[in-house]
C-alpha cells in the first residue's frame, strides 16, 4: 500500500499554507454502531478535496459532525488553526463553512429566491427588500446558468433544479469552506460542467471545497486531493496524481472490483431475439398535457428498454404514465394484447407493474419504519392487508435482500432514516424487486450508489431480464443505459424522438447527437 502517512498541501514547492479546516481523531457513535472511528481531514485554501468511500463509509456523518449537525463523541476541530466546536449548522455557517447536505434540504413552500437567501435577505429600513431579493437570487442562479422564475415555490421544481438551488444558496455565503455532499447525483452532464466551472472559480478565489461523489471521473476531473474512508475509518489522504481510478477503488473497497464488461456483450447479442412477438406492454399515442407529448413504446418480456434524455426531457414523466402515478389524458395502453386503463398505481400493481421512484425521500421510503418493514411494504400491499405476511416470511425476505444488495448495516430492524443515502436507495430497490413484477420500471435506480453496488444492481437487472422480466430503465448515465438496454428510446423536450436498437453501433456520442438534433442521424 502507498504510505498515506504524510499528506502534503497542494503545492509542495511553495510556502506551506495552514489548513482552513482540520479535524483530528473524530469519533462518532450512534446507538450501537460506530460511524466514525478516529477520522482526520485537512482542507487547505484553494483546493478541491474529494471525500471518497463506499455507501455507509461515514462521509455524510463526517460532514454533519464537522458542521454542527451532530455533536462529535471525540476528536478536535480546528478552524484557521484555532479549536472550534459548532453546536448547530448556523454557527458553522457564521464561521464561513457553507454546506449542501446529501438530501436536498430546503423549504418547498418558500419561493426559489427565498430558499436561496432566507436568513440573510437584503433589507431596507429593517424590512426585507423583495425586489433586491429577487434580483440577487436570479444573479446567483445565473452563475449556474439557470434561468427560472424565482418567485415560484421551490416545491414546483424538479429535484435537479432543487439541487442547483441548494448549491446556489451555499455559494452565496461568501464561504471559506464549501462542502458539497453528492451534489451531482441528480444532475446531467451540462449542469455538472456548469457546477464545476463555478467550483473552480471559487477555488481560484482561495476557497476550500470538500466534494463527495461516487463518480470517479468527476473526482479526477475536478479534485486536487482525496481522503478515503472505509467502514468509518480513515484509509488515507492522497494527492490525486498519485492515484488511478483503479487504485482509488481498491482503497475504497479494500479489494478488487468485479468487472462488468461481459454484461454488455450479452445484452447486445440478445437484442434481436427479444423484440419480436407480442410485447408485454404496448403504449400508443400515450400523453399527458404539459408533461409528455404522445409517444409509442413496446416493451417485451425479457427486454430492457432504456430511456435516455437530458434533465427535464420528460424521462420520468413518460415512465410515470405507465405506472398510473400520473394519469394519462390521451392514448392507450395494452398489456399482453388486452387494453387496460392505468389510472392509479393500484391498477398498475395489479397488472404486475412495479415502479421504483427517483425521489426516495418524497415518495419512496418511510423513514420511521425499519428496513424489513420498508422492504415488504409493496409485497404486502399487493397481497392486500387481509393476508398478512408472517413474521418469519418477512424476516426471510429481508435477510435475503439485505444480503443480495449488500445493505449496510445488515440489520433488518434498523430504522431506514438512519441508513446512509446509498443504502436507502438499495432498500427501495429491494422493495420492488421482491414483488417479482412482470414489468419493472426503474427511475434512476443507481443514484447515490457506490461503484461496487452499482455493478451488483446492473447485474441483477440483466439477470431479471434474462429470467423474463420486462424492464424500463431510466437513467441519466448513458454508459449505464447502453450497457443494459436492448433498445433505447431517446427523449428531447418532452417528446420521444427516436428508438435505437442497441446492436453495437450505438455509442454515447450517437445518443447525444440524437438528443441534440432531435433525430437519429
Amino acid at each position: 500500500m502507498v504510505s498515506p502517512s504524510t499528506p502534503r498541501p497542494p503545492d509542495p514547492g511553495g510556502p506551506r499554507p495552514r489548513p482552513v479546516l482540520e479535524a483530528r481523531g473524530i469519533h462518532k457513535q450512534f446507538a450501537g454502531t460506530v460511524a466514525l472511528d478516529g477520522v482526520a481531514l485537512r482542507l487547505f485554501p484553494g483546493e478541491v478535496h474529494a471525500l471518497m468511500g463506499e455507501n455507509g463509509a461515514g462521509k455524510s456523518t463526517l460532514i454533519k459532525v464537522l458542521t454542527g449537525v451532530h455533536p462529535a463523541d471525540g476528536g478536535t476541530l480546528l478552524v484557521d488553526g484555532r479549536p472550534q466546536a459548532f453546536a448547530d449548522p448556523l454557527q458553522a455557517q457564521r464561521a464561513g463553512i457553507s454546506t449542501v447536505y446529501q438530501e436536498v434540504n430546503l423549504c418547498p413552500n418558500l419561493s426559489v429566491a427565498e430558499n436561496i437567501l432566507v436568513g440573510r435577505e437584503p433589507r431596507r429600513f429593517g424590512l426585507v427588500d423583495r425586489s433586491a431579493l429577487r434580483r440577487r437570487a436570479a444573479e446567483l442562479l445565473r452563475e449556474l446558468d439557470l434561468d427560472l422564475d424565482v418567485t415560484a415555490p421551490l416545491g414546483s421544481h424538479s429535484l435537479a433544479v432543487q439541487q442547483l438551488v441548494a448549491i446556489a444558496r451555499a455559494v452565496d455565503v461568501s464561504a471559506k469552506v464549501l462542502v458539497l455532499d453528492e451534489p451531482t447525483s441528480s444532475l446531467d452532464r451540462e449542469e455538472v460542467a456548469q457546477l464545476f466551472t463555478l467550483v473552480r472559480r471559487l477555488r481560484d478565489r482561495g476557497a476550500a471545497v470538500l466534494f463527495v461523489t461516487h463518480f470517479l471521473d468527476q473526482v479526477f476531473d475536478l479534485c486536487d486531493r482525496v481522503t478515503v474512508l472505509r467502514n468509518g475509518r480513515l484509509e488515507g489522504e492522497y494527492p490525486i496524481d498519485r492515484l488511478t481510478p483503479m487504485t482509488l477503488v481498491q482503497r475504497m473497497i479494500g479489494g478488487e472490483l468485479a468487472t462488468l464488461d461481459q454484461l454488455s456483450g450479452r445484452a447486445r447479442r440478445e437484442a434481436a431475439a427479444r423484440t419480436t412477438g407480442e410485447p408485454f406492454l404496448r403504449a400508443r399515442r400515450l400523453t399527458r398535457a404539459g408533461a409528455i407529448e404522445p409517444y409509442d413504446l413496446d416493451i417485451h418480456a425479457g427486454e430492457v428498454v432504456g430511456l435516455a434524455g437530458l434533465l427535464g426531457s420528460g424521462r420520468t414523466e413518460a415512465a410515470r404514465l405507465l405506472f398510473g402515478a400520473d394519469s394519462a389524458d390521451g392514448g392507450e395502453v395494452g398489456i399482453e394484447g388486452e387494453k387496460v386503463r392505468l389510472r392509479t398505481p393500484r391498477h398498475a400493481i395489479a397488472r404486475g407493474i412495479a415502479f421504483c421512484s427517483e425521489n426516495r425521500k418524497a415518495e419512496g421510503l418511510v423513514g420511521e419504519l425499519t428496513v424489513r418493514e420498508n422492504i415488504v411494504l409493496a409485497l404486502q400491499a399487493a397481497r392486500g392487508w387481509t393476508r398478512p405476511l408472517t413474521r418469519a416470511k418477512q424476516d426471510e425476505l429481508a435477510r435475503h435482500w439485505i444480503e443480495t444488495l449488500d445493505i449496510r448495516p445488515a440489520d433488518p430492524e434498523a430504522q431506514v432514516r438512519h441508513l446512509s443515502g446509498g443504502n436507502q436507495q438499495k432498500v427501495l430497490l429491494a422493495r420492488w424487486l421482491l414483488t417479482a413484477p412482470r414489468l419493472l420500471i426503474l427511475d434512476e435506480p443507481t443514484r447515490g450508489i457506490d461503484i461496487g453496488a452499482k455493478a451488483e444492481i446492473q447485474k441483477l437487472v440483466a439477470r431479471l431480464a434474462g429470467e423474463g422480466t420486462a424492464v424500463l430503465f431510466v437513467s441519466a448515465e448513458l454508459d449505464e443505459v447502453l450497457r443494459l438496454s436492448h433498445r433505447i428510446a431517446v427523449l428531447r423536450d418532452h417528446r420521444m424522438v427516436a428508438t435505437l436498437t442497441n446492436d453495437g453501433s450505438v455509442t454515447p456520442e450517437r445518443i447525444l447527437t440524437t438528443i441534440a438534433t432531435g433525430a437519429d442521424s
Binding site: V69, D88, P89, L90, Q93, T99, N105, L106, C107, P108, N109, L110, E114, V118, G119, E121, R123, G126, L127, V128, R130, D145, L146, D147, L148, P153, G155, S156, H157, S158, L159, A160, V161, Q162, L164, R169, D188, E190, E191, G290, A291, L310, L311, G312, S313, G314, R315, T316, E317, R320, A325, S327, E358, N359, A362, E363, D443, A476, D493, H494
Partner: protein, 340 residues
C-alpha cells in the same frame, strides 16, 4: 439550458391540478372571502336591519379581542405548532387586570405593561420547553392551559367587576366616523395588531423564518436558520397576543373572571384554519385569519338575528365549516415536486 423551464411542470395528483401552486394556496382564502360576502347578502335579504355598515362594524367591536388572539395563533400554526393555552391566558389577563385595578387600586397604565409581560413571558417559557425538550407543542400548551386557568382561581374565584373610572371611560369611548358610524378603542388596537403582524410575517427575516420552519423544520435547521429562537419567539408572540386580547376583553366585559374565554383557543384556531392557514404549517396569510374571525362573528350575528335558535348552533355551524375547510386544504395541498 433545458433544465429550468422544462422540468417545472407541476404534476399534483389531486384535483385542481391545473391551477398553479401559488394560486392553490390562495383558494381557501378566496372561498372565505366569497363566503363572507354571501353571508352578508343572505342576511340582508332575510333580516331587516342586517344591511347596515354598523352591523359590519359591530362584528369588529364584538370580536376585536378574538382577532388579536387569532393573529397570535396564526404565528404558531404557521410554524406547524399549536397553542392551546390562549383561551386560559385571556382569562388570566382579565382576572389579573381586574384584580390589580379594583382590589389593589393600581393605575391601569401600570397594569397594562405588566399583563403583557406576563403573557409574553409565559409564552416564551412554553416555547423554550417545546424546543429544548422536544415535546409536542400540543402537550406543553395543554399543560399551560390548565395552569393558567387554575391561576385565575387563586387570584379570584368570583367575577371582579370593574368600576375604575379611567377603565370604564376607556371602554365606553366611541370613535365616530362619517354617517354616525362608530368603533371602539379595541377595534383600533386589533386592526393595528393585524397590520403589524402582516408586516412582520411578510416583510421581516423573522417572519420568513416562521414560514421556513413550517415548511420543513429539519431543513430550516440545516439551512442555518435560528430555529430555536424563532420557535420560542412565536410562542411568545402568541402569549403576548393572548394577554392583549385579554385586556381588550376586559374592556368589552368590564370584568375579570376565571370563566371568561372558555374554549377561545378553539375559536382562534378555527378562525386561522378558515382563513386559509394550513394546520401543518408553512402556508397561510394573517389577513385570511381576519376574514376567518369575521366569518365566525357573522355566524354569531346570524344566530342572534334568527332569535329562535339556541346559541349552540353557532358551535355546530363553526364545527361543520371547519371540517369543510380542512378537507379543502387537503385537496389543495398537492404540492409534489416534478422531476427530470
Amino acid at each position: 439550458m433545458s433544465t429550468g423551464t422544462a422540468g417545472t411542470a407541476a404534476r399534483p395528483t389531486r384535483p385542481f391540478a391545473t391551477v398553479s401552486p401559488r394560486t392553490r394556496t390562495r383558494v381557501p382564502l378566496l372561498v372565505t372571502a366569497v363566503l363572507l360576502v354571501a353571508m352578508f347578502t343572505v342576511g340582508s335579504v332575510r333580516y331587516e336591519g342586517f344591511l347596515s355598515a354598523q352591523v359590519g362594524l359591530n362584528l369588529l367591536i364584538d370580536n376585536g379581542f378574538l382577532l388579536v388572539v387569532a393573529v397570535g395563533a396564526t404565528f404558531v400554526v404557521l410554524t406547524g405548532g399549536i397553542d392551546l393555552s390562549v383561551g386560559s391566558m385571556v382569562a388570566l389577563s382579565t382576572v389579573l387586570t381586574a384584580w390589580l385595578v379594583e382590589s389593589q387600586g393600581r393605575p391601569l397604565a401600570a397594569v397594562v405593561p405588566l399583563v403583557l409581560l406576563v403573557g409574553a413571558a409565559s409564552g416564551a417559557l412554553m416555547g423554550w420547553i417545546i424546543h429544548t425538550f422536544e415535546i409536542q407543542p400540543f402537550v406543553v400548551t395543554l399543560a399551560g392551559m390548565f395552569l393558567a386557568r387554575g391561576l385565575c382561581y387563586t387570584i379570584s374565584t368570583e367575577s371582579v367587576t370593574i368600576t375604575d373610572p379611567t377603565t370604564v371611560a376607556l371602554a365606553q369611548t366611541r370613535l365616530y366616523g362619517p354617517g354616525g358610524l362608530f368603533v371602539s378603542i379595541p377595534v383600533v388596537v386589533a386592526l393595528a395588531v393585524l397590520v403589524l403582524a402582516f408586516v412582520v410575517l411578510h416583510h421581516t427575516r423573522f417572519g420568513r423564518t416562521v414560514y421556513a420552519l413550517g415548511g420543513n423544520e429539519s431543513s430550516a435547521r440545516l439551512m442555518g436558520l435560528p430555529v430555536g429562537t424563532t420557535k420560542i419567539a412565536v410562542y411568545a408572540v402568541s402569549g403576548l397576543c393572548s394577554a392583549l386580547g385579554g385586556l381588550l376583553l376586559t374592556l368589552y366585559m368590564l370584568s375579570g373572571y376565571a370563566l371568561h374565554a372558555m374554549g377561545m383557543e378553539l375559536d382562534a384556531i378555527a378562525a386561522t384554519v378558515i382563513g386559509g392557514t394550513l394546520l401543518t404549517g408553512g402556508s397561510g396569510f394573517v389577513l385570511g385569519t381576519a376574514l376567518g374571525v369575521l366569518v365566525l362573528g357573522m355566524i354569531q350575528t346570524f344566530v342572534n338575528f334568527q332569535g329562535t335558535l339556541s346559541s349552540w348552533w353557532t358551535r355546530i355551524v363553526i364545527g361543520a365549516l371547519l371540517l369543510v375547510f380542512i378537507v379543502l386544504q387537503r385537496l389543495m395541498g398537492g404540492r409534489r415536486p416534478a422531476a427530470g
